[in-house]
């Protein structure tokens, strides 16, 4: 009897916890999309913010574009650096101490809280180097944050491919560089691109690194690297934190989440297509 009760209790507990975990995840998406749907319109997407205080009327177009600029720039910098580090670790790490050092640095970097990138970026770039709040400073801070993100995943991709190609290719008398350029990099290209895109989405959603390094409440679309810019998550934070407009905050959250979700789903779709092609 006691056994039977215990059995059903265990089953019940698992069901309850599992269903509520899935329920929480579902709730997050449904809540934002449901609450934000009323604000979304073409003019909300394509107008500049207006009203007093700023953001209570108009749209979010500069923030959308600013976020995309920030994402693109930091993905470019962070992606190149991250993939470079992964290339070194996967193919050129013949000096033991150096590869241990690079590996530890990347692991360490991955554990650093996002606000520290903002703090160091702020004191170093803005005070020490005197660049001023700008797209450039913010992109550098975000890029530093996505280096470990890209690097750890890229290393995994390279190590999988290395097994397939490197030894055969070296055995045929081809050089390491030739194999890398002609075989491994082309074969990893879509996966690497997906990884960098995911890193970009991760960087675009972060507020902490851009808090004082470049994002502002109102600005035009940046024309130079040294212009300050608007960003979606920062805009959302300011709207909520200052209590300007909850309605527009939901709208902004809707757009931000939809955009990031789209990027992630695209990356996943491409990866699973690739896998299907390879298994065939």
């Amino acid at each position: 009897m006691r056994h039977r009760v215990g059995k059903y209790l265990t089953r019940l507990a698992c069901f309850l916890l599992g269903v509520s975990a899935i329920g929480i995840a579902l709730f997050l998406f449904v809540y934002v999309f449901w609450k934000g749907r009323g604000v979304i319109s073409l003019s909300f997407l394509l107008d500049s913010p207006s009203g007093v205080p700023v953001g209570t009327d108009g749209g979010i177009f500069p923030a959308l574009i600013g976020s995309i600029f920030l994402g693109g720039l930091s993905a470019l910098m962070g992606g190149l650096l991250g993939i470079g580090a992964a290339l070194y670790l996967a193919f050129y790490s013949d000096r033991k101490w150096l590869s241990v050092l690079v590996n530890t640095a990347i692991l360490g970097l991955s554990g650093i809280p996002s606000i520290l990138f903002g703090l160091v970026g702020y004191t170093l770039l803005i005070y020490k180097l005197g660049i001023g709040r700008s797209l450039l400073c913010a992109s550098i801070s975000v890029a530093a944050m996505i280096v470990p993100f890209v690097s750890i995943r890229a290393k995994k991709i390279f190590e999988e491919k290395r097994r397939g190609y490197m030894e055969e290719s070296l055995g045929l008398g081809l050089s390491k560089e030739y194999t890398l350029r002609k075989l491994i990099l082309p074969h990893c290209a879509s996966e690497l691109l997906g990884t960098v895109a995911l890193g970009m989405a991760y960087g675009m959603g972060a507020v902490a690194p851009i808090l004082y390094t470049g994002a502002v409440m109102q600005a035009d679309i940046p024309r130079k690297l040294t212009d300050p810019f608007m960003s979606l998550p920062y805009h959302l934070y300011m709207l909520v934190n200052n209590g300007f407009s909850l309605e527009y905050a939901f709208g902004t959250a809707f757009v931000l989440m939809a955009f990031l979700l789209l990027v992630q789903l695209l990356c996943k779709g491409v990866t699973s297509l690739q896998e299907r092609k390879e298994s065939r």
Binding site: G6, I22, G118, T123
Partner: protein
């Protein structure tokens, strides 16, 4: 700086820089979050991998993975409009911003991570033990409690360490719901964490001032904590991976 009776009053006439409230606040919030995330995460991972058919579990797992991609501002925003509002309504508190609210929001943020790592452990454990245990005539639940849970215990501890490390550094979501008062944290009271403190105050600090140095010192403490926690987590994971192969 680390004495219990020094307060955090960085801009008063005689500035005081007591970091202890923020340090305890950081640990407190992360601990609540990890406990919540572990309860729901382990339960969820067991449910998904044990009671659901494989293909449905896969769909749910990748759906929960999407939650990990939601930026932390949105978590803070939802926390503010749902959790904090709820606390204000139920608890008859003035604002509802408290350490527990921050712990809940952070716990939800850590949930996808815990579920993902625990699922992996559960799948491995099932492969090793399930058939032989079932063949011995144990019921499904007995297998779960007597063989699978004990065998993934170390995996759970490693996941908890890593999640704790992530929680310690979380900035925006925590900052939006914790109330940001530099006092000793109480369960239903306001509190302060080191990342939130940094994010709030670094914008208004003079370069080269004592205040900035103290902020850097606070973050140095945070980094040391992170180093210990994540280091232990990594070692555990490494050893687990070695055991499995």
């Amino acid at each position: 700086m680390f004495q219990a009776d020094t307060k955090w009053q960085p801009v008063s006439g005689t500035p005081q820089f007591g970091l202890l409230p923020a340090i305890t606040g950081t640990l407190y919030v992360s601990a609540i979050a990890v406990i919540l995330a572990l309860i729901f995460g382990v339960g969820g991972a067991l449910f998904l991998n044990y009671y659901l058919p494989d293909n449905i579990a896969k769909i749910f797992l990748s759906f929960i993975e999407l939650v990990a991609g939601i930026p932390s501002v949105i978590f803070g925003f939802i926390g503010l409009t749902v959790v904090v509002k709820g606390f204000a309504k139920i608890g008859k508190m003035a604002a509802g911003q408290c350490v527990l609210a921050a712990g809940i929001v952070l716990g939800v943020m850590l949930l996808p991570y815990v579920i993902a790592t625990c699922s992996e452990s559960v799948q491995n454990a099932r492969k090793t033990y399930e058939l032989s245990a079932l063949a011995l005539g144990l019921s499904k639940e007995a297998v779960l409690l007597k063989t699978i849970l004990p065998s993934i215990r170390r995996g759970i501890i490693a996941a908890a360490m890593m999640a704790f490390g992530r929680g310690l550094g979380e900035t925006m979501a925590v900052m939006m719901v914790i109330g940001n008062s530099p006092i000793f944290p109480k369960f239903f009271g306001r509190g302060q964490t080191i990342p939130a403190l940094t994010a709030l105050e670094m914008g208004s600090i003079e370069y080269g001032s004592m205040h900035l140095s103290v902020l850097y010192a606070a973050n140095a403490v945070l980094l040391i904590l992170l180093f210990v926690v994540l280091g232990c987590g990594h070692m555990l994971r490494r050893r687990l991976d070695k055991d499995e192969t």
